[in-house]
Symmetry: C2
Subunit: 333 residues, 2 copies
Amino acid sequence: MHKISIKDVAKKANVSITAVSQILNNKGDRFSAETIKKVLQARDELGYVPNSAARNLKVRHSRLIGIIVPSFRMPFFADIIQSMQDNAPEDVNLVFIGSTADNLQSSIYSLVERGVQALIFGRPIPNRDVVNAFLKKRHIPYLVLDQNADINAQDMVQTNEFTGGSLAASHLLSLGHRDIALILPNDLTDNMRQRRAGFLDTLSAANVTPISVISAALSKHGGLAVVHQLIQSQATAAFILNDEMAIGVLRGLTWQNVKVPEDISIVGYDDTDYAEFVVPSLTTIAQPVAEIGQSALNMILQRLAHPNLPYQTAFFDVKLVIRESTAQLSTDQ
Amino acid sequence: MHKISIKDVAKKANVSITAVSQILNNKGDRFSAETIKKVLQARDELGYVPNSAARNLKVRHSRLIGIIVPSFRMPFFADIIQSMQDNAPEDVNLVFIGSTADNLQSSIYSLVERGVQALIFGRPIPNRDVVNAFLKKRHIPYLVLDQNADINAQDMVQTNEFTGGSLAASHLLSLGHRDIALILPNDLTDNMRQRRAGFLDTLSAANVTPISVISAALSKHGGLAVVHQLIQSQATAAFILNDEMAIGVLRGLTWQNVKVPEDISIVGYDDTDYAEFVVPSLTTIAQPVAEIGQSALNMILQRLAHPNLPYQTAFFDVKLVIRESTAQLSTDQ
DNA sequence: TGTTTTTGGTTAAACGTTTTACTTAAAAAT
DNA sequence: ATTTTTAAGTAAAACGTTTAACCAAAAACA
């Protein structure tokens, strides 16, 4: 029942607890080699593990960073958090939490209670002003991955969403398509609004407007649900703001015996792991996910080190990855 | 810079810190309604958030549970942790960590340092005896999802892997297949060994042995890498121990113009989200992922409440989900 | 009236660290 | 031979809570 504390190792090594603390934290330059050895040995024999609650309490910080994503089940975010974890320095701890809009407030509260020193939002923040006030009051810097944010209120890492949408449009245009559908998730993040804007702008620069705009749930099933409308719209191509939905659409189309890309071209967004593996493989806009994750983490660490520097925003480029789901408009239509 | 502590709210409300503590923890039955109101108001005005490091230090526990999975990027584990988080009681905190075999030891150490009271392993444990000794010494109960474990050393939740393999075999057999390949990940967990055993046993009961056994990396790319060998083996069906690999195989087969299920039937394992969405949709063995996650969490919570009860193991059934990737052996081969 | 109970609190110790300020003995410098 | 410096350590306070033990005043009782 008794948990081994620093006292126990001090007693066993016959030194003060100060000595143990200093030595175990590599601040033991004033101690003799012999004492150091005694302490290390006592530590090992007892299997002492420091209590970080006590440590955090005393030093008044935790090196703990909270990461809030919408869901662990979305490959895009799974990639992000994996890359953060893989690149986190030894001495910082990450805590991931998947949080819907509903319980975002309580997630934040719980993280603050746990002592996070900074937060990274992988999802849009409803009630941004109250969240901002709450966090600012407690001097907890945060960073958001969405574009819907005041550039002077926090750090950001962004990708060039507008270009992404634009790339999709010009690709489809260059293949000769003019009857193009746009498929959106029901709830648009600001990132997605930018994608849409880029897409729409580029289309209209070529004097085309979408033949149809359809919304559905942001999921594979959402994509599935939309194929009937898509087929009826007579579109020869579709841009879908998200790979997961796109995969749903692909699936539905195959079941309806609509051939991709012969009958309709599809382009997705994100370049999720699976984009390469579906049949037909998915043309999509790739974001540098791993870099985004790393960069977000590094920026927030920087912020912790220099709280008063002006806010930064990192910018990443996207690129079009052409696979099998898009093709030249066939003339015999 | 100054962080609001319980002292500040005590001062503001003009009461002792004991009063604040008791009232805020709903143990304030001895206090007058007026005092309670004063305290609550002071708390709200100051925006006081309790410091759980201090609390944990004092009460000597954390209600913190560590979950170790191989990777956030594997849909199977993403589902598991999501279901845990969705079902965790208000007062317990979960910390997820993706850890390879290499850094498992240091992950465990770091979690113990952070004060976890229990651990759930979603991955096999190399060096089980040292891990067991380490954890037992510190009275940290743990639970493993793999089958390679001493039933008397910790709680477990298992699925009927043997039956899973067996189901796959009899399905293929009943479709008339006799030339059946088996595709394995390079590193087999004990769960997978059981799958294999069930599969092989059922095959041999029908007097058939696999026409070929192939190993590759446990990933979509691993599956892809294997299709050449698979085609050369002349198998008319294959059982693949994992959906991700199976999806890779499916992909590769399509590129090689081998038709599934006309030319070859494929059955996977896990019934990952994507199984339903690939083309052709994947026949596979479904595990009740969400229930597994919940059950694991509940069991370990039980264990915390009753440390001395005998170890339990929960058992879940699997089922065969027939989709498009398997079909009757065509006679014209 | 004097005694006991009840009501509504407060005091102070403890949890396991880190860190500042001391101490003491030996070595070096004068 | 005294003083100063250095080397090697220790004592004790503090971080923010919780909780056991205590206390005073008012209410109830005899």
